[in-house]
Symmetry: C2
Subunit: 340 residues, 2 copies
Amino acid sequence: MAKTLLRALAGEAVWPPPVWLMRQAGRYLPEYRATRAQAGGFIELCTTPALAREVTLQPLRRFGFDAAILFSDILLLPWALGQELRYAEGEGPLLQPIRDAAGLRALRPQAVATAIGPVLEVLRGLRVEVGGATLIGFAGAPFTVACYMVQGRGSKEWDQVRRMAWSDPALFTALIDLLTEQTIAYFCAQIEAGAEAVMLFDSWAGVLAPSLFRRHVIVPTARIVAAVRARHPQVPVIGFARQAGLMLAEFVGSTGVQGVGIDTSTDPGFAVREVPGLVAIQGNLDPLALAAGGAAMLRETDAILAAMRGRPFIFNLGHGIMPQTPLEHVAALVARVRAA
Amino acid sequence: MAKTLLRALAGEAVWPPPVWLMRQAGRYLPEYRATRAQAGGFIELCTTPALAREVTLQPLRRFGFDAAILFSDILLLPWALGQELRYAEGEGPLLQPIRDAAGLRALRPQAVATAIGPVLEVLRGLRVEVGGATLIGFAGAPFTVACYMVQGRGSKEWDQVRRMAWSDPALFTALIDLLTEQTIAYFCAQIEAGAEAVMLFDSWAGVLAPSLFRRHVIVPTARIVAAVRARHPQVPVIGFARQAGLMLAEFVGSTGVQGVGIDTSTDPGFAVREVPGLVAIQGNLDPLALAAGGAAMLRETDAILAAMRGRPFIFNLGHGIMPQTPLEHVAALVARVRAA
């Protein structure tokens, strides 16, 4: 097992640490924008294997990252389940919201396998091309995916979602359970198509009260980790419950993840104290520090590296890279991490 | 010192605990909507003493809360400093953003005293009318106010703000310093007009990396607490750094606040372990649990009360009450807390 990222996820304190960036295939890259323009919509880009493969590989060619993550979207599963989805310019995703049992019943789990076929095709084509980098599979976590499915669009507060979780726990849990089962199958299919690790993105976990966090973030994540590991014991799972730093130790301890993403607001020293020494930590430079560049970026990078030295660690951002990030800042960051 | 809220802020484990709700003067109340319709805009409502007094008192009349908080807006200070501000329907506040030193110089600190005159008039009229409730003064914290001043509008990520904090720390710190000085003067004027406690709202503190949190949340809050307490040693300060639960112990320890708000995502048991026993904790029912009502709301309320029993505590929400909240849910909540 020579790949640095897999060694870190197996509990080894690889140094200098492997490095990749969330949303590294994104709008800050001119070659991404060019390929993006060739696809019709965003879902088309994710489901056209040649184009999705191309954008997945672009950041590796330019910066030599230690991982490539499947180019996809957390809403691919609702789309595959038949929920109406469109991307409005400047507004983000818009879905026909699910607010009752009839909305839930209208989903078509039997349609998923066909719909995700092209996504698995993306991975099959990538396995060899990533070379020494690790190919990571991708899915939104059940709670975050449910957020969009219930609210119908992005939100700061996710009021419809949280209200349903409190007032109709049976319905909301049924949706979470459906997404949990689908995510297990989706991850297993990704692994069978070539993914060497998988990462679960729970971008909105931080809005939940602790009792709902346990029920709708920790429980589904634990089920996904257990089921994926039962079928593929050698494939590590990275969990990322953004803005849920307070629950970090409980999240790691109760889910059994092999790696845990930490967001921008999490103090690296706190994470080192809270996370068991064999679980890899992944994070957490502020994407705006990277956009700003210069001395402040290097100082923050050095502080993160100093806190993480001697434990399994994967350098990353605390959230996705911003579109306005200058390319030379990314190059300077990678050089700094490699010189650690 | 007979008022329950002031006793809790003095370190006493008052039981049943005092109770009030963030944004208790708000759109969920029909009488608020009626008064709101009489004012032209939102700033007009805040600066017309008879109307601002009326909406401040409405929730006390209906629910007998233990505190009234000055009806105001965190953007009152930028407005008083002369920054162009309007409220667009469905979009929230829009300001002429400050992006450089010229923008900062264009602010007019000398205009603030006159502009806030009507706000102080609101407090003078309220002091007697609140009866046994505690009259709390209100201000946005420097970082959160700066967020709107730099970004120019609401945001999930506050990318312009964080980028300025990293790339031009001198400019951003100058803005924070200006707001810190103004907030000290504003709080002291509020106290001299009748406020018996003051609360500082840092709604967006949770987006910051720890090093920026220390510089732009903890340092200004500590300065405000020290300066206010130097002039008014008997007046307690409540700090509320929303979504910054990881920094809770450091925030409390380094700022010297007498009370600390905790948001929805903070585990009450964690807060009890992290906050020194003489500092009052204020929070933290999920506003969506209140909107949902019923058994889940009562169960969550009971869990918070059980965690907080025996220490200084003020029952509140973890964030402002939602407009769609049924009035009978609020009444049921208050009854449950009073029966603790």
